[in-house]
Symmetry: C2
DNA sequence: CAAGTTGTTCTCAGTATGAGTCTTTCTCAG
DNA sequence: CTGAGAAAGACTCATACTGAGAACAACTTG
């Protein structure tokens, strides 16, 4: 038996005898504020990266909680919501990041989660953070919002869905704005790409809206997440033609949009889990190769 | 500061003082043999689940390797391939599973990987396993291959992409065939669903084939993964019309298919990373809700 | 040689999409 | 009060993509 194998065997029965790996959850929580996509960030209260922005997260409680539960707990701590009252918030696993050097203190494997939330209260700092806030995602996305004509520096070379996590390097080349601590820039970029892809073929865009909502509000979600304007008429036709995407409440808005126009009809999320056929993002020729 | 917080702080600086969480990687390695999808499985050489089949995997080497590297290492160990020679094998992260009870010994978080490989040599047992083999996936999929008319017991209630990992419960209800150890049934089911979805919008089906290949062989990959027959003519038209999916070698097969027909033209994988527009699975109305 | 398979190309009808128009109902500025 | 501008929603039209099927040639096996 070679030495590596031997070590594994021992570790299997007494992991404490070896260098441990810490397990954390980090959450990319996205919400819409003033028509723009915002991400929940905390300011680190201690080293390393003291004073820098980071994604909310923390250690998984060994033997006491699952990863999903840990993520919900961390999200609740920073939003001030009761973990049980996270009701309409969509929370899904994003990927894991485990490069040995991603945290200077020790080998930390982080399981990242992605959350979609309707307008939430202002963030409050958890006890280990110096502050928490919803920040516009462009603050951390080089080249501003992800316009369709943009050169897309973030997702360069990454296939959607193949968020080849685990390497944890911090490559992002030509950076402009502020950075997130650790490899959280990469995690955020992966989360944004996942969000952009996910609203194509699932009705999750509705998770960003309080019910009931109008078709126009739903379109604003797509425009904010994709960073591109959509054709209002075609969007309207499409949303109503996909079975189960939205269902009418029969009501119409009490007041029209702030800039005029007729009172819009109101809808709530339908029972579809997948959009069939999907709503595809406009022109992504650059992404193809 | 509440007790949970306090514990976190301490753990942050001396994780050894607390119950550790072990981190493993498990690999769902898929390949095609005799037109059927097979998964690499190992027979456990010790408790728990001694003698049962499980996915290949093992502990991540703390401070010495990333998750990706660990997955590649584990895969190499069970296939007998040089880790560096894993060349044409596609390896991507699938998701993480971290329910505290998923392993009876201790809290183990497993990062699952998904591999697509062209015909590989027979498996060989790693030193900690009693055996290794490529097994037809239907052996572990209740109700056999995932036919289009099937009631789809595996993916029931799961949105593709929302492989909401982390819970690690072992729910799979009405089981027929053998089970995989731990929660590996669930991981395999998630891996299969990911594979089925992934070949829709990426050219990864080509990763199952040695180059050069014929359109008919590529179609056989889709049919095996989706478990449904496809219209040969339409498939042919589609594959050739998506830019960058395959590129012609200019050659034609030396021998025709084993059951007659003209010599087919040969192709290799093109340079596209995404299929645009995608090849959608036939009829998934059941999945929609 | 006959029957059966496969590779490849076509046709045709149905559906979905992008772009644009039009009408109606509002708000806001003057 | 009025006119400009914005938005909701319903239409039109040309194009693209899809599923189903047919046709035909090049092979196999019995």
């Amino acid at each position: 038996m070679d030495p590596d194998r031997e070590r594994e065997f021992l570790a299997e029965y007494d992991p404490r005898a070896f260098d441990p790996i810490a397990v954390t959850v980090d959450v990319v929580a996205l919400t819409l504020r003033e028509e723009r996509l915002h991400v929940l960030a905390v300011r680190r209260g201690g080293p390393p990266f003291e004073g820098e922005w980071a994604l909310p997260g923390g250690f998984v409680q060994a033997g006491r909680e699952s990863l999903d539960e840990g993520a919900a707990r961390e999200l609740a701590e920073e939003t001030g919501l009761d973990p049980a009252a996270l009701g309409r918030v969509h929370l899904e696993q994003l990927g894991s990041y485990g490069h040995p050097d991603r945290d200077p203190r020790m080998h930390v494997v982080s399981i990242a989660y992605l959350a979609f939330a309707p307008r939430l209260p202002d963030a409050r700092a958890g006890s280990d953070a110096a502050g928490a806030a919803w920040l516009p995602v462009e603050a951390f996305s080089p080249a501003g919002q992800p316009g369709p004509v943009r050169s897309r520096p973030i997702d360069q070379g990454r296939r959607p869905g193949a968020y080849g996590g685990g390497t944890g390097r911090r490559p992002l080349p030509d950076e402009d704005g502020p950075r997130l601590a650790f490899d959280h820039d990469r995690i955020l970029a992966d989360g944004l790409e996942r969000a952009r892809a996910k609203i194509e073929y699932t009705p999750l865009a509705t998770a960003f809206l309080p019910e009931p909502f109008t078709i126009g509000e739903l379109r604003a979600v797509y425009e904010a997440v994709w960073g591109a304007p959509l054709h209002a008429g075609n969007f309207h036709r499409k949303v109503l033609s996909v079975p189960g995407f939205v269902e009418s409440t029969g009501e119409t808005a009490t007041r029209p949009g702030s800039r005029g126009g007729p009172k819009a009809r109101l809808y709530r999320a339908g029972d579809a889990r997948l959009l069939h056929p999907p709503l595809l993002r406009p022109d992504r020729e650059d992404d193809v190769r």
